[in-house]
Amino acid sequence: MKKILALVTVFALLTLCFCAAAAFAADDAAAAEDEEEAPVYGPLGFVYNEVSFGILDEAEPVMEAIGEADDLFVSASCAYQGDDYIYYYDGLELTVNEIDGVSYVTGITLVDDMIETPQGVAIGMDIEEALALMAEIEDEALTMEENRGVYSFQYGPALLMIQANEDGEITAIQYTAVTEED
């Protein structure tokens, strides 16, 4: 009789542990709902030849989608510590870097006023107008700072820089990946 009683209490304790675990499992599981795969560059994406892509996207699929590059410029760093591949397209330059065997888009440069950003900003436009267009993006994660005519919009690892000359005309528009020293 004593033995059975002892066993009963022990198993009661065991079930106690399991239900405690299950109870707390509930709230753990609830916390880990998967949020939809949002792009890492948020609103600072770019569209070219009806293909939308952005900073740190994988380069191969993007380049296949937007078609054959006119030419390629390889900017090798000294002693082979990583090369920049710059592909020329009509009105656009794409910078690609290889990280751990996979190449990513690390730079998008607008070359002339023939193309514009999804927000409608183009080279030659007035900077005030461009800032108004950019202001329409309501997203607190997007920060903006200005330093001697260079307006930098940052969202996560993506950085959009718009340069204007003295009389407020935009001379250059470039997307790059934020590196530490920025």
Binding site: M1, K2, K3, L5, A6, L7, T9, V10, L13, L14, L16, C17, A20, A21, A22, F24, A25, D27, D28, A29
Partner: protein
Amino acid sequence: MLFTSYRFIAFLALLFLVYYLIPKRFQWLLLLAADVLFYACAGWKGLVFLCVTVLVSWLAGMLMGRSFKEQKSFLKSPEGKALPREERKVWKKKRESYRKFVLTLALLADLGILAALKYTNFFISNVNSLFSAELAGVDWVLPMGISFYTFQTVSYLIDVYWEKVEAENNLLRVALFTSFFPLLVQGPISRFGDLKETLYAEHSFDFKGFSFGMQRILWGYFKKLVVADRLLPAVKALCGAPDQYNGAFALIGALFYAAELYADFTGGIDITIGVAQVLGIEVKENFIRPYFSRNIAEYWRRWHISMGTWFKDYVFFPMSAAPRLMKLSKKIRTRWDGFGRKMPVYLSTLVTWFLTGLWHGAAWNFVVWGLLNAVIILIAEEFKPLSTRFREKFPRLTGSFGYRVFEILRTFLIMCSLRMLDCYRNVPVSFKAFGSVFTAGKWREAFSGALLELGLSVWDYRIAGLGVLLMFLVSVLQERHGSVRELLWKKPALPYVVFPVLALLVLCFGAYGVGYDASQFIYNQF
């Protein structure tokens, strides 16, 4: 300052040199200075809490010590003896409650700091989830080694209260005991009684003690750098993705974690005891080859001994011998005799293991880990009569070597599955992973190269494997002949061959430096 950082090695070399150069009576003061320097490197803020704990324990110790002296001298004095027996009892009771008051205040302060710093977030998150409140967590930096030095101070205070040890009135000595730097990182939680003789004594240079200490430090670095840190990437990968790496991978992960945790923890303790030995200070062993234990109870007498004995002496026994519990047990025994007698043991075991789990970390998986340990120990205890009868029936079988290996493997596997809770740090995930070992299979996939994607190359596995083999052989030797270093010491030439080779092994095959990120000792996240 990590044990595996060059700064620590330079710190040690300098300390050893100066320690044996200065006049001996200042040696313990030098140690105190080293403690402060070592602790300051981990951040000044933590030093404040350490000082508060030291002050509290010094003051409380002194007050209790003085109260004991007064009591003794009064009872010996003429009018003390004259008091009738009853009054003497009342007078002693008053003194007793005064000391109890001082002790509880000190414990509240010390344990209060630990609880506040370590468990506030845990408490808040539970309150939030239970009452769906929105309390913001706090991000207080946990001072280095707070769990260890707090427990060490608490053991000193209670020992003084129980008159097991004499109170130390010198503040600096109490500070040295509480903050002795090798013990800070991951224990062992030493008792004032054990440490006192050698900690404050004057030590002249002893070549054998010095060599044994250095050899042990080197052996600690071998385990830590060649085995533990090399396996760490694989353990992190396997434990980091339980859904992808379930089935056979979960088992492999548990085995890797068992080897990695053992090498990391015992390696760290070897360094700690080695450093103390070089300084002429004896620190009790914290591990006695736990993986050779044949049952869970024995395992917990050989793994992290200082923690086990701490909880036994200061939680388990006081609780199980507590008068209130005794009365309750008597009442229950009137109806169910067996259960009545067992109840205090059950209750105090569960509470002790609940606290042990909680001490390991402010998370439910540690608590569940603790409770499961308790349950298994109790089940084993219940089945003891059964197993002794089984042993009597089949003496030849149970006496055989094969059966002993079976018991060792059984205990090892049980502990590995319990450790999954620590590996996945999440209760349901751990249970699911444990279940998946039997259901999800994936055996062929595990052994067809998938292990190479965990960040370890073939050579990494070979080196880690050879390292584990060497550790196993040394453990077997120690199991049979006691200290291996004594064995080597008998043949004078041998140490001069073995240890330089070991040093080269560590330098060449250690997983350290820019290529490998120096991983933290697992235990000093606590």
